[in-house]
Symmetry: C2
């Protein structure tokens, strides 16, 4: 994930040393969303998946100091609060955040997860802090995200003692929580049993409630659920309800997962919502994407620990195999191609044929054989670019492949005039017998063009373009070294060297480099695809060497 789009997010919460909840879960979630994570600690816990063994409070003044350090220096795009431990810390957080709000208005990106009790049942919020949350923190928040027991506790505080056990009960509770003074409430239903039939019935009774389904099979998807198709009253679902002050209510339904891996799901969800807000999603979209992210994390839980294990925060990530461009390395893919088969590349670039040519002592019959075979090879090379044009879907690509064909046709003239100097006529070129190495290489190009996409074909044709560019520069550099046997002065092959090290050819090399890098940047390869590219590159490098081997031996 490039540096370019990493909005900064701040979590204010407790530490879970075992890594599944608290700021650890938040930081992992921010990272998974490509956000820059910062974190202020309100309390430390010694805990693991089996329970909370101990809690160490952080002094309120130090909570404020941390928040100040972060906000003074970093442009935070969204916030979340988690475990705040007690009233004093909650007040410290409120003070620090309020100083950043305009006229005490809600902070646009503040998600407040009213963490009260751990998954394992440990109290994480002192009772006296509930009032601070409701009266002082919630009014600052863009969203408050209680689960069933937290909602019951918060509502109990204002005198309502009803268990939330149905979708109707959830809706009522969400609306009552909203009336406590928040901008929006997401009441999480992970602990409430419902079926798809319940959702549809509920939805038919509340026509103003929008239903968002994720991960549930819709119509016309029978082929995807052979042998697994459940009736609506058998399909267990988890439902979250989002309601806001504008009177908009949405329910998010997804399949229920039978699992014990739920450690830190609340932290994760609220951190994911904050990440979405930081990236500019509206609240509903941020909630939707966050529920999907969290759901998939639970599905893919790594099975760590002996109790309620953590989810997999990294399920949506892959390691990219081509590094980003940098000042030091403007062509990272080409560099990988060359480095991955550096031995073969060196054999090609510093081939005996090349050295003798550079020294001007290459036997003329070898050069003659080479130039005739190259003349034939260029036919394949032109055809490969015709195929590349046929495989291209955009005019710029069609144009660039066509331009290469025109360049090849122009190069033929150079071949003809150079050949003439060595007594080879145009008829000799046209009537030359195709060598086996030429057939092998030419056929390989067209085979790659048949089997792969345009990028794969580019890998094949560029090994030749870039290789001759490197050969030209290598010879030129060697010729410049003191005492080198390689020289331009008086060299019968001077024109050849100057052609390939010259501006025109090197400009074509540059275009080739830019093209291949642009393809990899636009459509970054998977490891398997990169390996495929590396193999094509290596094979072409070997075929190039074989081409020169053949010239040295006047045929294979």
């Amino acid at each position: 994930m490039s540096r370019k789009a990493q909005p900064a997010v701040l979590t204010i919460a407790g530490s879970d040393c075992s890594g599944g909840a608290g700021i650890q879960a938040d930081l992992k979630t921010f990272a998974a969303h490509g956000c820059y994570g910062t974190s202020v600690l309100t309390a430390l816990t010694a805990q693991n998946t089996t329970g909370v063994q101990n809690v160490h409070p952080v002094p309120p003044s130090f909570v404020e100091e941390q928040i100040k350090s972060v906000l003074d220096d970093i442009d935070i795009k969204a916030f979340k609060t988690g475990m705040l431990l007690d009233a004093e810390n909650a007040r410290a957080v409120v003070r620090a955040l309020r100083s950043r709000s305009r006229d005490g208005d809600p902070l646009p990106g503040l998600v407040c997860d009213p963490v009260c009790v751990s998954t394992s049942g440990h109290t994480l919020l002192h009772p006296d802090a509930v009032k601070v949350l409701i009266e002082e923190l919630f009014p600052l928040a863009a969203l408050v995200t209680p689960n069933k027991s937290e909602a019951e506790l918060l509502l109990g505080h204002s005198g309502r003692n009803e268990e939330i056990s149905s979708l109707e009960g959830m809706l009522r509770a969400a609306e009552e929580l909203l009336s406590l003074g928040s901008t929006a409430i997401l009441l999480k239903g992970g602990h409430i049993t419902a079926t798809l039939a319940d959702v549809e019935e509920f939805s038919s009774r509340h026509s103003n409630v929008q239903v968002v389904r994720d991960g549930l099979f819709g119509e016309n998807m029978e082929i995807l659920q052979i042998g697994r198709s459940l009736s609506k009253s058998d399909q267990r679902v988890v439902v979250d309800i989002l309601t806001n002050k504008k009177g908009e209510t949405t329910i998010f339904a997804r399949p229920h997962i039978s699992t014990t891996s739920t450690h830190g799901t609340g932290c994760t969800l609220s951190a994911a919502i904050a990440s979405g807000l930081a990236q500019g999603l509206d609240l509903k979209q941020a909630v939707r994407e966050a529920t999907v992210y969290t759901h998939r994390g639970i599905e893919d839980a790594p099975g760590i620990g002996h109790g309620n294990g953590p989810l997999n925060h990294l399920h949506g990530l892959r390691v990219s195999c081509v590094p980003a461009k940098s000042l030091d390395s403007p062509y990272p893919l080409t560099r990988m191609l060359i480095e991955s088969s550096i031995g073969a590349w060196k054999h090609f670039v510093e081939h005996k044929f090349v050295k003798l040519l550079g020294e001007g002592v290459l036997p003329n019959e070898c050069f003659a054989y080479f130039i005739k075979q190259d003349y034939i090879y260029l036919k394949y090379y032109a055809r490969a670019h015709g195929l590349l044009a046929a495989k291209s879907t955009g005019y710029p690509q069609i144009s660039s492949a066509t331009q290469v064909i025109l360049n090849i046709l122009a190069e033929l003239e150079t071949h003809k005039s150079m050949s003439a100097k060595f007594g080879i006529s145009v008829e000799d070129l046209d009537n030359a017998e195709e060598g086996i190495a030429t057939t092998g290489y030419g056929g390989y190009l067209l085979t790659i063009g048949l089997e792969g996409d345009s990028t794969k074909l580019l890998m094949a044709v560029l090994a030749c373009l870039l290789g001759y560019g490197e050969v030209g520069l290598w010879l030129k550099r060697q010729a410049g070294e003191p005492g080198s046997k390689i020289q331009l002065e008086g060299n019968q092959y001077r024109t050849w060297i100057e052609d390939y090290s010259g501006e025109m050819y090197q400009n074509a090399v540059r275009v080739g480099l830019e093209t291949i890098e642009a393809h990899a940047e636009k459509d970054p390869p998977s490891p398997a695809r990169l390996e495929d590219w590396l193999n094509v590159w290596k094979r072409c490098t070997d075929l190039e060497r074989g081409f020169w081997d053949a010239a040295m031996k006047l045929g294979i």
Copy 2:
């Protein structure tokens, strides 16, 4: 990153609320390496990129409790220690770790970063702790990773007061640090100026020292550095020296980067080394990969904060666009394909043609037109699979494409016998005029086969295979609904419905689903490639609908 390979790593260090150093940098680094991160806090700091504003110590007993909570529950594959603050906390860490070592031997995966001073110059280790580090912690470590000033401080403690300012000085210091009792030392040279010429000279004097170069241009890479080629004495490099008790020494050289984004580089490097060790790399390889990771993170620094900014820990990650398989969703890619163009898909699957056919009232001439065009279409469909075989590089893929052709040829016989029932002779089929919709669809398949790789062609041919499977199941399900007009009994098209909903065809659907998912799993698409696939799928879905439109109108 799948849950399957996430080794757990533990960092024992301080908290940097601004997210660039401390356990925050460590957790981000673990995540970037696909490791499961856990973290024990030894101290909290209120800091940002401009400096450390305050430090809050964590009581030694609570440090031990946290370590115990983690180690009692989670199988930690590698450890790193960072800021330990003071002697008491250092001793607490030593006690907790020693209890996990066999006979006080070094812990295989323990990397000790002797954090003494922050990038901004703040003291992070009390002087009395140095002795504990050297005498008690280092002997437990697999590697100790001081930078220049930490090395000078550690050596100063044992009476040596020499500034480290050259490669020779680094080597001497590394060897002396080793003699303090560690298994291996990585002395980091980020603050020591050297050139590539220095490295080569150093290397020629110490033939036993291995030199590892990363990011530096080697031979035969002239084309990659046009206009940027530096002489060896102008090429500034950063060098780290790794030396171990077995007497093996390696130097890691890479280009120097002019930057102020160095906040947390030491934390990051040691966390990256621990990640590599957790994944089973040997120490040298782990160090090499960690230096490259850190280097790229600095190159790609996000420019956060007003002082020494953090590096980009996430530079090597991408968001994957196809979710992993799960119990609830065994065909995630196909699901995306269908959901992304669900409207077009429904138009196709529930086309008027399909409904009338299901009701048995489709005019015979429409069915006759359809069956003739389908007979012609299957020729394209077979050719597309011939092309697929030609594009396949493995025997299983060649075999499966060929099998489909054989199935198509067998399907022709069904077409013939079904046609006969409607008075359509084999001659009628063979002489039918190709409709425009058929030409369009058939030509599209072969065009996709020409332009893309085998996976893209699969997307095109599977829309038809899977679509007819869905149509078959949809009709069968509708026929089973009470009161439905769609029925099998007495339906003149019953055989057609039973063919496509039957076991043989549905098995082919299954194979198709598995094939397409396996391709996406082996070679996960980039966002651009996925979009391309979605477009192909949508286009084929529209072409399918067009095919039935044509049948209804007896030609377009």
